[in-house]
């Protein structure tokens, strides 16, 4: 009997009701249906696209100073790519039916393109990685092949690397030249696809005509710009962390395989790379802010029917989120941090963390802010993020779910760096 009662009670709680508070006149079925995971989705795909564009700056446009960063960013982009669809899966009411999107896509829907865009992008990154690390695969598998008494772990390693070579063992000067050309083509092809992957996430929002805040053709472009900003920021951050760790290892023991031997050497390389990368970060940050402000000014100037309620949300209810947290803490402060002369690693770390926070707040203000007002234009909805989960739903679509999604790519990156070494391996690329 108690179980029946509780299941009956459970049925009474409508999806979205747990974290939505309504104010004034709101339609009875309106709730904040798209919650934290839908904030995470564009945030994660943005990181994927941004990291890829960063790596392409070197491969396609030959920005030499980004050489160190390029390989790193590509592997990171691949790690992030696996995590990009997870927020959606956690958000779906029927996650097991998620593959319907791939099996029976309904092409008038923006979401239906997901499978095609996602997998073509994945294929490009995977093949670019293969060309980039082909020589490494060959080296490892050949050295293991010739080793007489292989231990079990070495056998496994041998099998993995052997299959990763795809049977191609040609590492002549000529073949490597061809690889380089292939990388360049793939990286060039990848830029529009990466932009499409994320621009289309912007299109998902921008094309919802029922939502006054979302509907703007600028949305995909704004999303791409802020995506690149966040991708570069995360790459810089992870790069600094790994470099610092390496410094730590160097002081503890000198390993012969390390590329840079002394602390000073690592430090100078590190700062150089970061200075260069942060210049690109600033450039895209300016583009993103300009577009966002253009959108805001345009809405205020044209002042269509929805403007009254939008104004009350933008300048009233969400003022702190938009102007203080997003533009102030997330854009203006890092801007000053980067532009003040005498850049130090510590300041860069603070700057990129704030930039990442700013981009996250931008996604938040779009997704949650877009649902902060009712379709009646005369009521409001407030979102209360579930922090401590008390059931599956508040875990999936709460702080805990979002945090696990954010941490997962780092774990994957660590695992992947075992196969694609991001620093210690010397190649010509």
């Amino acid at each position: 009997m108690p179980t029946m009662m509780s299941s009956l009670l459970l049925n009474l709680i409508v999806h979205g009701e747990e974290w939505t508070a309504k104010e004034l006149f709101v339609y009875p079925n309106e709730y904040i249906y798209w919650s934290i995971q839908i904030v995470m989705y564009p945030f994660m795909t943005g990181l994927v696209a941004g990291a890829f564009v960063l790596s392409s700056l070197y491969h396609v446009f030959g920005v030499k100073q980004l050489k160190e960063m390029a390989r790193f960013a590509l592997v990171f982009s691949f790690a992030l790519l696996f995590c990009a669809p997870l927020p959606i899966l956690l958000h779906l009411q029927h996650p097991l039916r998620g593959f319907h999107v791939l099996m029976t896509p309904h092409f008038t829907s923006a979401i239906a393109a997901f499978g095609i865009v996602f997998f073509s992008y994945g294929a490009i990154v995977a093949s670019e990685l293969w060309f980039l690390y082909r020589r490494h695969f060959v080296d490892v598998s050949l050295s293991l092949k010739n080793k007489p008494d292989k231990s079990l772990s070495e056998w496994i390693r041998f099998l993995i690397f052997c299959s990763l070579t795809l049977g191609v063992y040609d590492v002549s000067e000529d073949a490597l030249k061809r690889d380089e050309r292939a990388i360049k083509i793939l990286a060039g092809l990848g830029i529009p696809v990466a932009c499409f992957l994320h621009g289309y996430a912007g299109f998902i929002f921008g094309s919802v005509k029922a939502n006054a805040l979302w509907m703007t053709p600028l949305m995909p472009v704004i999303f791409i710009m802020s995506a690149i900003v966040s991708g570069i920021a995360l790459c810089i951050l992870t790069y600094i962390v790994t470099m610092e760790l390496r410094k730590l290892f160097v002081t503890r023991k000198k390993t012969p395989h390390q590329l840079y031997q002394s602390r000073e050497e690592i430090k100078s390389v590190e700062l150089n790379v970061i200075k260069m990368t942060s210049r690109y970060l600033l450039f895209f940050l300016i583009a993103a802010i300009s577009l966002e402000l253009l959108d805001l000014v345009f809405r205020g100037y044209t002042a269509v029917k929805s403007w009254d309620v939008l104004r009350s949300v933008i300048y009233g209810k969400d003022f702190t989120n938009i102007f203080i947290l997003q533009y102030g803490v997330g854009n203006l402060i890092p801007f000053l941090l980067f532009l003040t002369p005498g850049l130090t690693i510590r300041r860069v770390v603070l700057g990129v963390i704030l930039v990442l926070f700013g981009v996250f707040m931008m996604r938040w203000n779009v997704v949650i802010g877009g649902q902060a007002f009712s379709l009646t234009f005369s009521g409001y909805m407030h979102y209360h993020l579930p922090i401590i989960p008390h059931n599956l739903e508040t875990f999936k679509e709460g702080f805990a779910g979002a945090a696990s999604i954010f941490l997962l790519p780092f774990l994957l990156f660590w695992l992947m760096s075992k196969i694609f070494p991001v620093f210690s391996y010397k190649t010509e690329h």
């Binding site: 004034l24 006149f25 009875p28 079925n29 029917k305 379709l375």
Partner: protein, 260 residues
């Protein structure tokens, strides 16, 4: 022995060769089959006479029971809104529990347990507006469904396939009228379908049947002799949120500009 290069070349040729005859076959859309089977002489429309509505909520109650929407869950396929316009022009509106139990107090619900009292002498006009799915001619919810789980029947009614809906909520976001929600039990998108199981058998919808004042009527716009069609064609009727281009098919008599 065949070389790897030749093998790949021939495999590619083979695939291309095989796919050419396949391309000749037209991909048949399920919609086309469904449309060819359906009755083209029917287009369901709805007519609401706001002058007749008294806000009793019997329609909401009947709908919840008929369509098995958990009675106490705060979602509903149809609801009734109350509008009170003060002499100073300020508009108040509410729909407590979708007016399932009617409007039991004069005070206007402001949400979060707060109420607004309006003096009778300050009121310039007050009325009720029933709401339900508009079964749009150009339904944005159908357009955005990534798996085609929601679709428009040839008679105009927009339906949801509970076995196929993935629960992404895109359709809920796309509907300008807020008629969609997640079913608390099935966890799939849910909406008013004009009681499709009833109208296709010649019955009236549950809400039409339950309304004691005849404020709600359903009809077939393709039949010129249908009483609802006659009213829509000869009287002045309005529709909701025309600006979205959805071409809604629920018509209102006595629609006010204040109605959202």
């Amino acid at each position: 022995m065949i070389s790897r290069r030749d093998f790949l070349k021939n495999a590619a040729k083979g695939i291309v060769g095989l796919s050419i005859p396949l391309a000749a076959i037209e991909i048949i859309s399920p919609e086309k089959i469904f449309a060819s089977k359906g009755d083209k002489k029917v287009r369901w429309v709805f007519l609401v006479d706001t002058y007749k509505c008294v806000g009793c909520g019997l329609c909401v109650k009947a709908c919840k029971l008929e369509n098995e929407i958990p009675y106490d869950a705060n979602v509903t396929r149809t609801w009734v809104e109350r509008y009170v316009i003060r002499k100073d022009g300020k508009v108040f509106a509410d729909t407590p529990k979708g007016a399932r139990d009617g409007f039991t107090t004069d005070k206007i619900a402001l949400g979060e347990g707060k109420y607004q009292e309006i003096k009778k002498e300050d009121i310039s006009q007050a009325f009720f507006v029933p709401k339900l799915c508009n079964q749009c001619e150009n339904p944005p919810c159908v357009q955005v469904c990534p798996v085609g789980a929601t679709y428009q029947a040839p008679d105009g009614v927009v339906l949801v396939d509970r076995k196929w809906c993935i629960g992404c909520g895109y359709c809920i976001m796309a509907c300008p009228y807020g008629v969609r929600f997640f079913h608390p039990v099935y966890k799939t998108a849910e909406k008013c379908n004009f009681c499709y199981h009833r109208i296709t058998k010649g019955l009236k919808t549950a809400c039409v049947q339950a309304c004691p004042f005849g404020a709600r009527q359903i009809g077939n716009i393709k039949d010129p002799d249908d009483p609802v069609s006659k009213i829509i064609m000869t009287e002045r009727v309005g529709i909701l949120k025309e600006e979205y281009g959805t071409k809604p098919q629920v018509y209102y008599i006595g629609l006010n500009k204040e109605v959202r």
